[in-house]
Symmetry: C3
Subunit: 675 residues, 3 copies
């Protein structure tokens, strides 16, 4: 439980009462009660109000807001306000301003704008966090701390350059090691002095679109920047924990956000929280995968849905309204996948600046007689009904999918073999093949305990970190089923190729050698031709993108290419290794193939869906110590029939008993507490 | 009459004899006579020649050119040459150089390149204007002053930052008012010192494509820049007027150019002049609308067509030739809509640099035996024939369309609900619906006297300035028909939302509440379903872009949406208010609907076309104290028949009597002086 | 012969043993022998290794590598390593760093990164070249010097600005001449002090995509930058020649690379070498044309194929593998067109940084059992077989196509009449029309001796340099056939228009006047209608892009436009002038027309193909003092039959006699030594 002061699924969101007069706030509080809102995230961007100048702090207005919220029965998720520095600070201490990718020193403006290695920023952000903790540590309204906001963005200033050199010294000890790790002899970039190293940006090694001359320095700079921002977070974290060791602390993450290594960050968050902003045309299964990734950051621990919009966004090209029922459906999707809170950005629309057309529980009209408010209130009432039944429920599955930020960086920094390769897309293809069959997966890091799994899928495992190949071998040897794909096993953590034949360190367990890697244009494809029918798979399927030309070296060939000069060469292989199997998919297949393949593998491991798949119906299970809950979510615009088979139980929302079959209305949700 | 020294439609254009030797100029002067050219605009970019160094001025060459022009019978439109500063000035006084949107200090180059707040630029541009005025004030050749050239572009340097702060102090008096106006508490941008405010560009609040974090500062910076450039203009204007108070002064505007608030500028121009450069595929009615906007800047006063190309442009992607007859047709289009001059850029092609492939009356071949010259000479002869008959003629119409630069800025700076919304496109849709029915409209500012109109159309009236809602209410109350659309009434002049429900201050007069605003993708649409047939409208029509979900609160529902979850909600309403009507169109309809709607409204007000519409035929009327002239322009590539009905009169060009009907040749023009 | 130490077609490529340990190098050397590799290009990017600090040089490792190569029988192409400066130099002497087009001072990174006017770069690049020459001048391994690498890129720093002014003083003597040459009076850019002139980039006169306000300064800056980089090359060249006057010196060019005037560079190279990287979809005839251009740089002297990939590239969007046989076919294509070497980038793949996925003879797997290696070894064996038979062979043809870098710059800097005009495309259209008919052409400069040719084709001869029109007139007068196209004869070397009617100085020889130039959109076209059937031409053909409206002034009209208002005006003319003919093609025709036209012209001159054309078959002839060799290359994926007619001879690779006809396998090659 995140905080047992509020033993239910928290319901609330961002609230900026400092923009409003007292009468409006009174109205807001009244409506919060109507909507069942019980948590407000406040103080996210109020640094300039709290600290109007270097030596003056003013918390009186915040005292008042917290008091009034608490008096009206609303708890507080208290932010530290450091997501944007005050204007006076930028003028007085320009070191807080970033230098951007183009090498330009920025001026005051925007947000998430502070150099993470700025001494001034670090000093004052830590200080304000500590002052807030000191002041409110005993306030009963506070449920959780929310440090800064959506950390992100890189800086390339001189103090970051200095910090980078120190970071490198800690990692590599000597310049010789740096030169080797980055292969600087290529193009004569050998460094003889630490001062020769400058941040890789548009003025030095990189150019727009993840392009670099030296992958080594670019990878390390991403690591360094992720660490630098994490360092800022940790300074605030430690300052708070000194005063409120018992209160949980988080910062809101951004799902698949590329620039920060969230698995590394997660170690320093008490609870994961994240902001979910799918577009109108985002695949349902991609949102599902992102929830699962956020759940995976702390190995299955329930997370907070910190932000979603009640109605529409403002920053997408075409900001369609969430259709009736959609907000509720997507909220339950989060819960179905591990969220123990449902929170919005935002509780009330702002009157000015760039987010004023972002949806809110309370719209500009200011009253409760709106479709959006009614839907929010309906959900609020349901969440009250659910009480604490779902809290701390876990997802149990024996299927793991490896997701690795550093690997993603390396894949997308690669010059060749194709610009079309996107790491997330390839991971999603495998995830979706399971999703469509109602089989859940955990998204796991390369540090995960593989013994928890029967099947581990690692699409495009391009970078193999130290010891990871051994870990996979052990997993397979002990009976596990491992699957990886084309463009895997190529490099080490520094993007240095493992010589001796692809897939490098994975060659032994996979029993293959990839001699060449072909890349075709987007309108070109090849075929996967099965050597014989196997379970759901028979005949042939399309594949595209990249094409490893592999030789079986012990592995069994399950399918071969259907055309090109490598027609007849293996495209799908399985290697028996110890008690397990290691699979290799040498190209990027169409969905039907992946569903068949993963269906077969799951079947062999006895992994089954709780109920049969139906198009547009999402199914998950969460389990507590005492109960098991089946979530059935209808994403269709039509009523849809569901066969439950032997499953029986109680509808958690209505309390009605359920068995045999049922029909879910459009956007309808069933939470079935199993008998 | 602009200047009664030349009581006819002026015919001429830009001329750069300083590039040529005397023999060539002699030839030019000879050909001017052949073509009927009587005005030459000179000295547009000659500052460096006039002032070769800080302390030296040399007018002798200009004296000579003016003398020779005048001696040959050509009058002069005398430019002040300040559209580009001299190279020596940029080196000696770098304050004249701009800092661009990307934050880069520019070096010498290009044109329209001076910082409008540069003390050096202001001092020397004012001085050269005054010196020219002193020197040529009594010269009989001078018809009009032409200050600088096509003012435009913004600067973001430190002296502009200082100027901006001063401008803000004048507008807001206190920082508290600024903070409130810009809602700076959002994202913690509260200012405590004027020096904390920096210009909004790519280094601070904005990014390319009209994107900003804070609409308030971005709007004010646009106002400030428009004012700063206007200030430069006014310094020259005043310097000139000291010496030649009787000579008219203008600067050439650029039609729909976005960056300057031309309604504000127009107050300081004695006569409007503008440069018309339609592309091969610009809709005829968009050019027409732009002429009408230019005419509207000074409430109907005839304007100057200062520039158009006789043949082709050089700066468009594909610079097609104007087809035979097209130059003449488009020249008469300008006259038909209020122009009292027909002038070209340029009279002779330059030999080098980037505009040498821009069309000219005299081409590089240098003689008169060209198609282009012949067409120019033919038009010149006709304009001689017309004499002064059309001068000072006005357009009389009871239909006004509101066009507002500040509103356009605000609409296009908005983050959400859709990137597809373009203010000019929406205004043009309504204009075009009238144009296609031969009904003229005036383009008017929000300051216009509405009592001159029966119908006022204000598409996307997003920003409602102080007092404007009252003005509209008064207009409707007194019997006027007002029409506005989706995304109207949302914000005040600082882009701060009017709370209490859209369309804010317009809600009362419109009798509706817009609860939500849906945005769809460009390939999606909805339908406008009429509740009953009405005049030209029946059945259903397509609509797209944005979709207000409105509730009638007193208004009558004339049409409803045909699909989506808001099927059946109103999409077209009319509210009776006092003696008038206020219409609301909640989405962006297809042309057929708008033609039907505006046709119906005009019919109710007894507003009719002079002759029935024919495809490809443009029709306007201009009226003097004594006469009324019907212009009929055939934009078709085929001969086209026109029914005149009861209209009779005289063909102003041929002197022939006209009645019943006639056939216009392709690109043919009739100016009918009505009996 | 490039160097008679190795009297055969050299076979080798770039090799970076400094990245490897000795065991790997031993393996490499073993495999070189297996593959028939006899030349290694080394030391291309080793400056930082050779000169670890300002005062220390270390050649010991290079001594060792050269020794080991030589000991194993591999010769050396020795690079000077100056393609990228060391990191310490950038920090200690920032003058070596460039300022880019956007005006940004760069930091250390990338390659080809040195300011060509940097005193530091010039001093130390010359010094290292001299030290290398001193040290290795007597080493028997060295076959040739390879200065720097792929020179390119421009700089816009202050020292370049100074250098530019000096360069201008040498070219123009006075500022008055500069002002005239650039027509600075346009837009008031008159210069009164040399210091007022700044480099034209995004901060001054230019903007991205070859756009400029003043073509004059932009053209001269390109000339100056080409000269500046050439100056760097020459410093190294002279330093080397002091010590090894007998060894040839080259630098690797880049084919159609736009930024350097290779005809000017070629004068300072002992032998041309270049890097050939066609994409999967590059037309075969464009690669052929580029080979011919490289051969043309030194008037037919055989050149070196310095780089090509054995398998795939890394920097294209989709890096497809070279299909089986393709590498060999394309290698022979180079030989067929004048190459006396076949060399690769690279002999071994690097382990890290941005080119590690660039193909190599030795792949990351590190052994010889790969498809790529086998194909390389097969070719190596064949080249051994060929021995010295093809060395120094020349191409004899009486058809010349003018290619001019300065003209290309001017065409593409032009503002108007269309953005779609690409110089290379237009040249290639004419080249391809000959290529498809098995007729060879030389690519020649404007300085070439035209008396070597019967037909000279000069597509889009926009810029006519001083004396060039006279040269053409003389050529035609003496009986030559000259052909040019639309948009020709317009300007002089400074992009100043030749007044008096297009095509300016060419008007007399062509007997036409181009009154106007129409430009249409890409989806629009016109027709070429023949006035009567003529040889292969009859009926009508499509044309597009630009359309000169010409009048025959003595020329005979062979075809007219089929539509638009200039229907019936000439589109193809021929003018009899002295004993010859001058042709004008007024628009850009479809391929069928050009094949017919050029076929007719060749027929009239008795220029015939050695064997009849077959689709997909490329045919060339090279001739030595004693022999003539016919190359027949099958680019098809199918076996293809070839009719040899009366030709008989010996297959140079197999030694078999050949006559009548033969069938070439897919990607097959025949080198027929004629009887």
């Amino acid at each position: 439980m995140i905080n047992d002061k509020l033993p239910k699924i928290w319901y609330g969101g961002d609230y900026n009462p400092e923009q409003w007069d007292k009468e409006i706030m009174n109205e807001d509080l009244r409506m919060f009660k109507l909507a069942g809102i019980d948590v407000a995230t406040i103080n996210v961007f109020s640094w300039a109000l709290l600290q109007p100048s270097e030596d003056i702090y003013d918390f009186t207005w915040l005292d008042d807001i917290i008091e009034r919220l608490y008096a009206s029965g609303t708890y507080v998720c208290l932010a530290t306000s450091t997501g944007a520095h005050p204007a006076w600070m930028a003028r007085k201490y320009p070191d807080v301003l970033r230098v951007d990718f183009e090498g330009r020193k920025r001026k005051f403006g925007a947000r998430h704008n502070s150099c993470p290695n700025s001494p001034t920023y670090r000093k004052y952000s830590e200080r304000i966090a500590e002052k807030l903790a000191e002041r409110y540590k005993d306030h009963p309204a506070i449920l959780i701390w929310h440090i800064s906001n959506e950390y992100g963005g890189y800086c390339y200033c001189d103090q970051c350059a200095d910090g980078f050199r120190t970071w490198l010294q800690a990692r590599y000890a000597t310049l010789g090691q740096v030169n080797k790790a980055w292969n600087t002899n290529f193009w004569g970039h050998t460094f003889y002095d630490w001062e020769d190293i400058v941040p890789p940006n548009a003025l030095s090694e990189e150019w727009a679109g993840d392009n670099t001359c030296f992958q080594g320095i670019s990878l390390d700079y991403r690591r360094f920047m992720s660490d630098s921002l994490l360092e800022c977070y940790k300074l605030e974290y430690d300052a708070i924990k000194k005063h409120t060791p018992e209160l949980p602390v988080t910062t809101n993450l951004m799902g698949l956000y590329k620039e920060l290594d969230y698995f590394k960050w997660a170690k320093h968050l008490d609870v994961i929280s994240w902001d979910n902003y799918p577009s109108f045309n985002t695949p349902i299964s991609l949102t599902a995968m992102t929830h699962d990734l956020m759940r995976g950051l702390k190995e299955g621990q329930p997370f907070m849905l910190m932000e979603q919009t009640p109605s529409q966004q403002n920053w997408q090209p075409y900001n369609s309204l969430k259709r009736p029922g959609m907000m509720k459906l997507w909220s339950y999707q989060a819960v179905a996948r591990g969220a123990d809170t449902v929170m919005f950005f935002q509780l009330r629309r702002s009157v000015g600046a760039c987010e004023k057309y972002h949806g809110a529980v309370i719209e500009h009209v200011g009253h409760e007689h709106t479709r959006v408010f009614r839907e929010c209130a309906e959900l609020g009432a349901e969440l009250q009904t659910l009480s604490d039944k779902l809290l701390d429920a876990r997802v149990n599955t024996r299927v793991g999918i490896v997701y690795d930020w550093e690997n993603r960086w390396a894949v997308e920094l690669s010059s060749g073999p194709t610009v079309a390769l996107q790491y997330v897309d390839e991971v999603h293809k495998y995830y979706d093949a399971l999703f469509q069959q109602n089989i859940q997966a955990n998204l796991i890091s390369t540090d995960a305990d593989f013994s928890n799994y029967d099947i581990i899928i690692a699409p495009v495992l391009y970078m193999v970190k130290k010891g990871f190949a051994k870990q996979i071998e052990h997993f397979v040897h002990e009976g596990g089923t491992f699957l990886t794909t084309f463009f895997s096993g190529i490099v080490n953590e520094n993007d240095i190729v493992t010589l001796g034949g692809y897939p490098g360190e994975l060659r032994k367990v996979l029993g293959i050698w990839a001699e060449e890697i072909d890349a075709l244009f987007p309108d070109q494809s090849n075929q996967i031709v099965l050597t014989e029918s196997w379970g759901a798979l028979h005949g042939q399927y399309q594949c595209g993108l990249l094409f490893d030309l592999i030789h079986a070296e012990g592995a069994e060939v399950k399918a071969v290419y259907g055309s090109e000069f490598y027609q007849g060469m293996p495209v799908l292989t399985v290697n028996k290794f110890g008690a397990g199997q290691a699979w290799y998919v040498a190209s990027s297949p169409e969905p039907a193939f992946l569903q068949g393949l993963l269906g077969n593998l799951c079947k062999e491991k006895g992994i089954t869906a709780p109920i049969p798949p139906v198009a547009g119906i999402e199914v998950t299970t969460r389990t507590t110590a005492n109960n098991s809950f089946l979530f059935v979510l209808n994403h269709n615009d039509q009523p849809t029939s569901i066969e439950l088979g032997d499953l029986t139980g109680t509808d958690l929302i209505t309390g009605e008993p359920i068995k045999n079959k049922l029909t879910l209305p459009p956007k309808g949700v069933l939470i079935l507490e199993k008998n």
